[in-house]
């Protein structure tokens, strides 16, 4: 049960575990006893090597997978539901037969809620994402970075309170990736949604987040949660500061020690 001190907690994970059956008849423990409280408006990065269950964690929160044991609760009030979640995937996953604007309008279309207000919201998002000239284009006319912007815009369309991002910039080249991260921070700064951001890149995790959740592989466990007490707004130059380097080093050591322990 959430305690009284957790009034601003929006997601609470209670000893989540996830066991997959494998084809050879065995089992794989993807997540083992993961507990975490996420405060409203917090930007949390989740780092860890491949196969540490980072994506599984997001999928469980989103309701795309069901955990073997443990609980996910949304707070603070009872009206917080899964429809207040928005998810951005590693691939843009745009529908090629829909224009950029219609891809943004995916969620209202599914809930038969496309009206003047949602269309205005889509136009607003196009401007915010720097895609105002591309509203009537089709996805295959856009670059990878632009497509992923549409993917982010699509998740923001129904104005979710919580944004789940599963390696959203993983498929982009390094320069595009840095720029997208900074753009994401700008968007986030406007209304401070709660963000859970899964990534492979430690510097990316540190640059974006208030707290970095470090996970270890097989079974996916929570090694530690590292606070990132760097001032905002963050810039790319932050990467070269000693404070930044220290945090990155701390996370790297955490990952290494867990690695050698096996």
């Amino acid at each position: 049960m959430p305690t009284s001190t957790d009034t601003d907690c929006v997601i609470r994970l209670d000893s989540l575990s996830m066991v997959y059956p494998t084809k050879s008849g065995g089992t794989v423990q993807a997540l083992d006893d993961v507990s975490l409280s996420v405060r409203g408006g917090e930007f949390i990065s989740i780092v860890g090597p491949s196969g540490c269950g980072k994506s599984t964690l997001l999928r469980i929160i989103m309701g795309l997978s069901r955990q073997t044991s443990g609980r996910v609760t949304f707070g603070p009030s009872e009206d917080t539901h899964r429809n207040q979640l928005g998810m951005v995937f590693q691939q843009p996953l745009l529908l090629p037969w829909r224009t950029v604007r219609k891809n943004l309008l995916m969620s209202p279309d599914l809930h038969r809620a496309r009206d003047a207000a949602t269309r205005a919201k889509a136009d607003e998002l196009l401007v915010m994402l720097g895609l105002e000239e591309f509203g009537d284009r089709y996805p295959n006319e856009l670059s990878g970075g632009m497509q992923q912007r549409v993917g982010i815009g699509r998740a923001l369309m129904h104005d979710p309170r919580i944004l789940l991002m599963d390696e959203p910039f993983g498929a982009l080249d390094a320069m595009t990736r840095d720029q997208m991260g900074l753009d994401l921070l700008k968007i986030w700064d406007q209304d401070r949604k709660t963000v859970l951001f899964v990534t492979h890149s430690i510097p990316e995790a540190v640059l974006l987040a208030d707290r970095v959740v470090v996970m270890t592989p097989r079974p996916g466990r929570l090694a530690d949660v590292v606070d990132v007490a760097l001032p905002r707004p963050r810039r790319l130059e932050n990467i070269n500061t000693p404070e930044f380097g220290e945090i990155v080093l701390k996370i790297r050591k955490l990952l290494d020690s867990e690695h050698s322990a096996h």
């Binding site: 795309l64 998810m87 529908l95 295959n140 006319e141 856009l142 670059s143 632009m146 129904h158």
Partner: protein
Amino acid sequence: MSTSTKRHAAEREAPEGEPVEAPARPGTPVRGRRRRVPEITYSVLVFLGLLVVWQVVVKLFDVSTILVPAPTAVAGSLVDGFQDGSLMTHSVVTLKEILLGFGIAVGSALVSAVLITQFRPVERVLFPLLILTQTIPKVAMAPLLIVWFGIGISSKVLTVALIAFFPLLINAVLGFRSAAHEQVEMLRSFGASRAQVMRHLQIPSALPHIFAGLEVAVILSVTGAVVAEFVGSSEGLGYLIQASNFTLDVARTFAVIVVLSAIGIALHAVVVRLGKWLVFWTATPTETAGEV
């Protein structure tokens, strides 16, 4: 919609190509246009050349008209056939058989494909049986269908439907399964129901595959109708071929083959056009606009 996206593509292509080609060939309009037109012209020229060779060989070596008539004789027979109305009436009969049979095949194949892909038990029971029956040469069923359904149009329609059904079904099943799992999850994350996933993702994803099947099936339909008419009929182009063969009017046989080819080409063109119009997104170039 498709025209607008293609225009954008052309606009982007032009400035890219010009600096490379401008020094070598000043005043060149658009790269693609220079090459595409001659290709078609060459095909037509080669075809006309073959006709001329055919004509010359037949006349020069005095080939019997019972074996191979000259192109001019075939053309004459074509004109005669359309003038006395016989080619037209028989064409209408065959076309009717093709369209009805093809329509039945499309409808039943699409419904079966949806059932197979949406319901596991249906797939488990039905799909092996369908694969099994697919190995039967459908043409071999034509005599049976004539025995069961008579010498009239229904036996031909069913032969056509039977022949066109399988390539359509296989392609449609592949098509309905072609949507990426990640795309399904994306829609589910927005709260899409199963029917909405079908409508917004699986049906559009299936279209390219369905049209690949339609292209094969429409040509098979023509074959099916002619074969069924061979087996037993009193009208239609297949009947006309048999009748003209019986009277050794080989020019007429060739004329009917020309008409059948024309029907096949026309129907295929309609399917291809419809496909390009509906499945516009795969036709657009995959090149991207400048990075971010």
